[in-house]
């Protein structure tokens, strides 16, 4: 079984002296390919920080992160941009869509960055997230769930091997949230791509292949589900 992510003794310290915060304190993790993984933990536990490390948005204070055999933590600025472009798809709690671009254009903006037929792939992911009909609408004309689906489509359009989601359902109602989770779940179906989702909602964990619990910058528990629940079975 090949690994999607491996972190070794990963530490991230913000600030210094009195204001020092150990957001991550020696995190060592192994995440196999093709899994739908949930990172659980209370607010301030270090979930977003961990995701930022895997996504190469920030440099660690110490330790290493290895994604698909690439030592992310040792990449330079240019290589990291390239790495994010080829390997990672991001989905945020705040959808961060460009308000002056339509749904299709928001996705196309990223699709254009990689080789191949950007238009075809844009249509494909729009269809995948069920928004084929709404592609020409501006963000302001879409519901929260629809906007989040556009942002997922944007994350998927590059066909990344690892999708990182930071509370993707955080600003959505239950039903829409479940739809989004179902959508993310399907991404892992072919066994090649993995999805890492941060949440502090324990119930979501029931549908995960693997649940990682974080507290105070330390991994306190890793639980593997042999038979994850279907999102529709979840009760909130």
């Amino acid at each position: 079984m090949s690994l999607a992510v491996r972190t070794t003794d990963l530490t991230k310290i913000y600030g210094e002296g009195e204001t020092e915060v150990r957001a991550l304190d020696g995190v060592s993790l192994e995440i196999p390919k093709g899994e739908f993984v949930v990172i659980l933990g209370p607010s301030g536990a270090g979930k977003t920080t961990l995701l930022n490390q895997i996504g190469a948005l920030e440099e660690p204070t110490s330790g290493t992160t290895d994604v698909d055999g690439v030592i992310v933590s040792s990449l330079n600025e240019k290589e990291r941009t390239e790495y994010r472009l080829r390997t990672i798809g991001f989905v945020f709690q705040f959808f961060n869509l460009v308000p002056t671009l339509t749904a299709r254009e928001n996705i196309g903006l990223i699709a254009e960055l990689i080789d191949g037929d950007a238009e075809a792939r844009t249509d494909e992911v729009l269809d995948q997230v069920g928004l084929a009909e709404r592609g020409d609408h501006f963000p302001g004309q879409l519901s929260g769930g629809e906007q989040q689906r556009v942002s997922i489509a944007r994350g998927l359009v590059k066909n990344p091997s690892l999708v990182l989601c930071d509370e993707p359902t955080g600003s959505l109602d239950i039903e829409t949230g479940i739809q989004i989770l179902e959508l993310l779940r399907t991404v892992t179906a072919d066994g090649d791509r993995s999805v890492l989702t941060v949440t502090h909602n324990a119930i979501i964990a029931e549908m995960a292949d693997r649940v990682i619990r974080v507290r105070d910058g330390v991994v306190v528990d890793v639980q593997v589900n042999s038979s994850p629940a279907e999102p529709s079975e979840l009760t909130w």
């Binding site: 948005l57 994010r84 991001f90 671009l101 196309g108 990223i110 590059k158």
Partner: protein
């Protein structure tokens, strides 16, 4: 088109009014540069074209010893030295007698130096001894055409001459009689070119009294000027005038200076304002888009691509403004050149397409745009992609405003007014830029307005405090007590005094300055002297203050005065200096001067002082009389040949000011536009940034009017804060500008009326109120639901 480009064009559209405001400001700055610089250069080239073509003299020496022409021609660097005669004598045209000037020319062909363009009729001819050429301003003023006749006063009385042709002369493009009578206008002064033999009869004392020179091409002007000056001094010259000092040329130069200044100072003001406005706008755009920027970076878009994307906003804006501005500017420059040469009657209009102007203009715009976008783009470059994960963060912490801290009771104001106070400090850079906009606009407006105020004040001073006369009578004989007494007795005349006006040269330790000596009776009532006691000293000379610099004299020094028309000289001590707006003349008491002349070697008796322009009778009228009728009656006095109305000059100068008013109008409009653009942009950005707040306030039941009052209050407060430094900077800028115009001919010390400052401040407040309107409309149209939703995007 790439999606980023689509995004950019939609960003442009979204904030189109702000972008248009910046675009217009950049374009205006570049237009001002192009128009003023090109017209400055074109006019320079046009003058010089005329000067070269007509062989305008490089040097004019008057009253040197006979044979000086040969001496001058031998000076290294002098190509040609030519003799001619020049004399100021009365002309009588229709019923008017004016001070005329005759200048001799060979009758068989144009002279080597100071040729003329004959625009109508024909050049002088040996077969037509009474045929003269008249200078074009004189022809225009009296509507004289070829074949018309008028009279000139010669030694033998009035002689009739015929207009043979109308001429444009490089010496009289600006028709000034002398540096002292810079504003001598058509109607009071005119020039005629006559054949050399004719002058012998007309003014025997003026035979071949002048040598005009052209220098070798490429000669070093300074060296040759100095050499000729030495030679002329050695030959006892009465007046030595370089091309730079020549009144017409100096006048045109002074005029051009205005263009030069506009070509540099004003465009810079505009471009600073435009750059600031663009900076504010782009910073705001980058700020609101920072989470999108983070997301794009997180998604693998390269840093440089995004940085370039935002930099391109400024570059596009700058380039567009610059191109439009350059095209309009060059076109305007051409138009101005044509209008100018036409209105001044410059015979040559040379317009050159200068690529340098276009290149510099475009560079101005592009650099402004690029600099404005640089800081925001760098912020993008250094933005952390991790920010995208953090969502919205409040930008600045809250806190009490400075005034609240200084005046604690203010804290008890209603909260919404505290908001106004705190709003000023909320985004310091933006508040500063609003203030800067006000400062720049006030600088522009005040430097134009200051010029008007100064000229008006100085004119008032010249005609109400210095020249107190109402009219001056010229007689056909040397003025004597009898004539003065008769004129004093004319109904409506309150004062009549004899006045002596002599062309004179003041000399002190090797330096000399050509000017005029005016002599008035003791306790004169037709002239005011701006000294401490306002009196004319009885035992010395009062001089214009520029004489200090011109020949380095001070109070107590004894100067020598020579006279262009009299073969004698006198000496006397300087008793004081007067600061007068126009000219730098010498004053003496009449009796003192007459005594000095009588004691001089050779002695000059009063009766031989010269032609009617030397001894005149100045009069002041009884208040409220019919001026025209009084002048009519003076004219009827036996022996009076002409009455010159002092007020007419004043009125003509006032008319002349019409041009200035047009100029200031344009400046105020431009300054207002600039202030508007900057204030409008800052306010729009402020309102956009706070739309959530305003929407929330509206949702909580605050009325539209109250929100509008808040926005207005905050911005009027900001503008008011800018007004104080703006008035100070504007005043200083105006003073500096005026000082660059000052010379011995015209003294411009800034005289700004307090009202001007008040009006300028009020104008700024009005601009502030106008610029708030679009912001208020935005808030009124704010869709509360949409704003709240956009936050989640």
């Amino acid at each position: 088109m790439s999606y980023l480009a689509t995004k950019r064009s939609r960003d442009f559209r979204r904030s189109r009014w702000q972008f248009i405001a910046v675009f217009i400001t950049i374009a205006l700055g570049v237009v001002m540069f192009g128009a003023s610089y090109d017209s400055y250069r074109n006019l320079n080239v046009s003058y010089n074209g005329t000067y070269d073509r007509l062989h305008f003299a490089d040097m004019t020496v008057t009253g040197a010893d006979p044979g000086f022409a040969d001496t001058a021609a031998a000076v290294p660097g002098v190509a040609v030295a030519e003799e001619r005669a020049q004399a100021d004598i009365p002309f009588s045209i229709d019923d008017t007698v004016l001070i005329g000037r005759i200048v001799t020319m060979p009758s068989d062909g144009q002279p080597e130096v100071n040729q003329v363009d004959v625009t109508d009729g024909a050049y002088l001819s040996p077969s037509d001894p009474t045929g003269v050429l008249i200078e074009t301003h004189l022809a225009e003023q009296f509507d004289l055409g070829v074949g018309d006749t008028f009279e000139i006063a010669t030694g033998a009385g009035w002689t009739t001459v015929t207009v043979r042709g109308i001429a444009v002369s490089p010496e009289y493009l600006w028709p000034a009689r002398s540096r002292q009578e810079f504003f001598s206008l058509p109607g009071t002064f005119g020039v005629a070119f006559v054949s050399a033999d004719a002058v012998a009869a007309a003014a025997p004392e003026a035979t071949a009294n002048q040598v005009v020179m052209r220098y070798d091409e490429g000669a070093d002007r300074v060296t040759v000027d100095a050499a000729v000056t030495d030679a002329a001094n050695a030959a006892h010259a009465a007046d030595i005038m370089t091309q730079a000092d020549q009144p017409s040329n100096a006048g045109l130069d002074l005029d051009l200076k205005g263009f030069e200044q506009m070509a540099i100072a004003f465009p810079i003001l505009f471009l600073i304002a435009a750059g600031m406005a663009a900076f504010i706008l782009l910073t705001r755009i980058v700020y609101t888009q920072r989470s999108q920027i983070g997301t794009l970076r997180a998604s693998g878009m390269s840093r440089s691509k995004l940085t370039w994307h935002y930099l391109s906003y400024g570059l596009i804006l700058g380039t567009a403004g610059a191109i439009v501005g350059t095209i309009l500017g060059i076109a305007a420059g051409w138009g101005i050149t044509g209008m100018y040469t036409q209105s001044l009657g410059i015979p040559d209009t040379i317009r050159e397409l200068r690529w340098s102007t276009a290149v510099v203009g475009i560079l101005f715009g592009v650099v402004t745009g690029a600099l404005a976008a640089l800081a925001p783009a760098l912020a993008v470059f250094h933005a952390s992609p991790a920010e995208a994960m953090r969502g919205e963060v409040p930008t600045t912490g809250g806190g009490h405003s400075l005034v609240e801290t200084v005046i604690p009771p203010l804290r008890r104001l209603p909260v919404r007014w505290l908001m106004v106070l705190r709003g000023v400090g909320r985004n310091k850079l933006r508040s500063l830029s609003t203030m800067l906009g006000v400062v720049l606009a006030l600088t522009l407006v005040l430097s134009a307005w200051g010029m008007i105020d100064t000229v008006r004040t100085l004119l008032d001073r010249q005609f109400n405090e210095i020249d107190l006369s109402d009219a001056t009578a010229l007689a056909d004989r040397p003025v004597d007590d009898d004539l003065v007494a008769v004129i004093a007795g004319v109904d409506g005349v309150a004062v009549a005094e004899p006045v002596i006006t002599l062309p004179a040269t003041a000399k002190f330790s090797g330096d000399s300055y050509g000017t005029q000596l005016q002599a008035y009776v003791k306790d004169t009532r037709v002239r005011g002297f701006l000294t401490d006691d306002g009196a004319l000293p009885s035992d010395g000379i009062l001089a214009g203050v520029s004489l200090k610099d011109e020949i380095g004299v001070d109070v107590g020094d004894t100067i020598t005065i020579t006279f262009g028309t009299l073969e004698t000289s006198i000496t006397g001590p300087i008793r004081g200096f007067v600061t007068e707006p126009m000219g730098t003349v010498l004053y003496m008491e009449r009796d003192t001067l007459l005594a000095a002349l009588a004691a001089a070697d050779p002695a000059v008796p009063e009766t031989t002082l010269g032609n009617p322009t030397v001894t005149t009778v100045a009069t002041a009228f009884v208040d409220g009389v019919d001026r025209d009728a009084v002048m009519e009656r003076i004219h009827d006095v036996d022996g009076v040949i002409s009455v010159v109305d002092s007020r007419e000059v004043y009125d003509l100068v006032q008319q002349f000011m019409g041009l200035f008013y047009a100029f200031i109008g344009i400046m105020i409009v431009f300054g207002g536009a600039m202030a508007f653009a900057l204030i409008f942009n800052t306010i729009s950005v402020n309102v956009a940034e706070r739309s959530t707040e305003y929407a929330t306030m509206r949702a909580n039941g605050l009325s539209n009017r109250r929100v509008a009052a808040l926005i207005t209050g905050e911005n009027v407060l900001l503008v008011s804060l800018g007004i104080i430094p703006g008035l100070i900077v504007g005043y200083l800028a105006a003073a500096w500008m005026m000082s660059t115009y000052s010379s011995d001919m015209i003294k411009f010390n800034l005289e700004m009326r307090p009202w001007t400052l008040v009006l300028a401040a009020i104008a700024m407040i009005i601009v502030a109120l106008l610029s708030v309107i679009p912001g208020i409309r935005t808030v009124r149209r704010l869709n509360i639901v949409e704003v709240v939703r956009e936050r989640a995007i």
